[in-house]
Amino acid sequence: MATRNADAIAAAEKTYEWGFSSDIEQDFAPKGLSEDTVRFISAKKGEPSWMLDYRLKAYRHWLTMESPDWAKLNIPPIDYQDAYYYAAPKEKPKLGSLDEVDPEILRVYEKLGIPIEEQKLLAGVESDVPQRKIAVDAVFDSVSVATTFRKELEQAGVIFRSISEALKEFPDLVRKWLGKVVPIHDNYFAALNAAVFSDGTFVYVPEGVRCPMELSTYFRINAANTGQFERTLIVADKGSYVSYLEGCTAPMRDENQLHAAVVELIALDDAEIKYSTVQNWYPGDANGLGGIYNFVTKRALCQGKNSKVSWTQVETGSAITWKYPSCVLAGENSVGEFYSVAVTNNRQQADTGTKMIHLGKGSRSTIVSKGISAGRSDNTYRGLVRVGPTAENVRNFTQCDSLLLGGDCGAHTVPYIEVRNPSAQIEHEATTSKISDDQLFYAMSRGLDQEAAVALIVNGFAKEVLQQLPMEFAVEAQKLLGISLEGSVG
């Protein structure tokens, strides 16, 4: 699967290969945002009344808030009334059966190289990477259209559903955890999300269970002028393990589209969640026209003793990326990790990083951030390491490296370190470099053309992060890095 996708990527020539849009009959909410919109969404999804109340409370709170302004980002004002907050493909697929899904939609995922049909996975596909089963939840615009491998997962006791379905099938479980890590009032976009989120993924892994396969969700924004507000909630019960991956693409359009997602992770005693993201939203054209605004709140609560959450992100797309996947390390000896490669080219902007909040004794965190700037872009790492007064023996290691390609781009680092316990050991290293002409020529003199040489050197720079990704996605991410930097040197 990943290799086919990689081949598709390799065939692209300085164009955003996923920029096609598809003609699919869709259901829209009336344009604009009001309480009626919120009710419309909740009704469409047939939600329990407590869910509607939650949404309304969030919406009313959002109305009192102001869009935050502190990031090193240049964001043109967003007209929240000039968008659709619900767009769903008209054919609602029957649970677990792909026959009901609009074949056009299946073709979209086929084109993206994403395996919705389990048969394709189980058949031997040539690849130099061993074939493994990966369960996929495909979200097309606001709606989850297919989720694979349900039976196998059910046998293991793992719940892997779209949030909409989970709200119907396991309402108490969802209600217990929803909003516990990112509450309504957390920030402007989280409030908006809580009001109008349409779908996303819910995962619950029971006690002692090691999820038998990787879980993944592919988000595809298709309809114009819609916002994508997905909500993901993953709960790993005591002693369990799950590895989850999300991938994202969107068509090329002249207008900006807002993607304001919320991801909440909860890890109980001795549990571990590995969360990987390969983000390739449409970045806008060379002059900065169009592109997705990727404003996301992602946070993990390492509640249990020895719990662990590891965030790995490869961000190559979006006009503006604004996100800080974080860990609240509440449990004793809990571990938080953040590995990131953020690429900005042309006129892209990124202000991204993490927050590691150490509350539990003996908690540890590792942060490795690789920023790559090219074109006339701006790339900022913003990180917080906070140690509470009763958190004894905390350890943190942070490394943020910037690579600059060309003379018109920017790399910025804004680290915050707040330590209120004297036993803490905090390390911070930072480097800034550029690809030297000597390195390029050396590689070219051995037979690599300029694009290949840049890709090779950039991948070497990002290697420490890329090797955190599940194998198949590491290959895809490598190719993506090369493609996103095409034309950046010279």
């Binding site: 050396y442 070219m444 051995r446 037979g447 090779l456 070497g460 720079f461 290697k463």
Partner: protein, 259 residues
């Protein structure tokens, strides 16, 4: 794309005609002419600043080195019409005086990608991981470099001697037709010098290959006996001879020749 296939001892491997070249607007090569046939080893010697390294950079296409007059052919194809990576695919290899470090990229990854890129340009099938590994290990063993070094990032933390041995491993894997070795002996102790010399003989002393040894001192030539020795001074070749010319230079120095 010339693969320099079918080169015989009477063939022109490299033909340079009245080459003029500048670096940052400053003329360095001022009418250099040279012919190297297949099966020959040529040594280029001369005082510092004469343009020896410049010759290597110009032939391999380093940016910032501009040809202002004259031309050169590699196996009868115009060299300066080709991009650096195309020259490599055509069979040209430059052994760097100061091999460059590439953090995060292992020698194995670098060389496999480079070799397969060359093979692609030549219309040859790429080597599989296993095939490549076999060749790489054999080359490392032959030059006396620990195979573990191959897994390390290119030249990072390598001593001077290890870097030069690593260049030989690269040359052995890539197996070029024409090797231009820029002061390959600089910074080497006796053992490393012998190993590198043996490597050059093993890999390049063949009837269908040729070597341009750019060297300041005579000592490498004790191990790699040249067929021709040229003195490069003032941007041109001012004298040519056989192997004994190098010994004469060692005794007399450059000042009389480089007038």
């Amino acid at each position: 794309m010339p693969a320099c296939a079918g080169m015989t001892t009477e063939s022109n491997m490299l033909h340079i005609e009245n080459l003029h070249a500048e670096v940052d607007g400053k003329p360095i090569l001022k009418g250099l002419s040279l012919t190297v046939n297949a099966g020959e080893i040529h040594a280029i010697m001369g005082p510092n600043g004469a343009g020896k390294s410049t010759l290597g950079y110009v032939l391999s296409g380093k940016p910032g080195y501009d040809v202002t007059a004259g031309g050169a052919t590699l196996c009868d194809s115009s060299l300066f019409d080709m991009a650096p990576h195309e020259r490599a695919a055509a069979g040209l290899f430059l052994g760097f005086q100061y091999p460059v470090e590439i953090p995060g990229v292992s020698n194995l990854q670098f060389l496999r990608e480079a070799l397969n890129a060359q093979r692609k340009v030549r219309g040859e099938a790429p080597l599989s991981g296993a095939e490549f590994l076999k060749i790489a290990r054999a080359q490392a063993a032959a030059i006396g470099l620990d195979a573990e070094m191959l897994k390390r990032p290119v030249n990072v933390g390598f001593s001077g001697g290890e870097k030069k041995r690593a260049e030989m491993v690269q040359m052995g894997i890539i197996d070029p037709k024409l090797a231009i070795l820029d002061e390959t002996d600089s910074g080497l102790d006796i053992d490393a010098l012998k190993a590198v010399g043996d490597g050059i003989n093993r890999i390049m002393r063949k009837p269908d290959k040729a070597v341009l040894l750019i060297t300041h001192y005579q000592r490498l030539l004790d191990y790699v006996r040249p067929d021709f020795v040229h003195v490069l001074a003032g941007g041109r070749i001012v004298r040519s001879g056989g192997a004994e010319l190098a010994l004469e230079l060692e005794r007399e120095g450059y000042k009389d020749i480089a007038a």
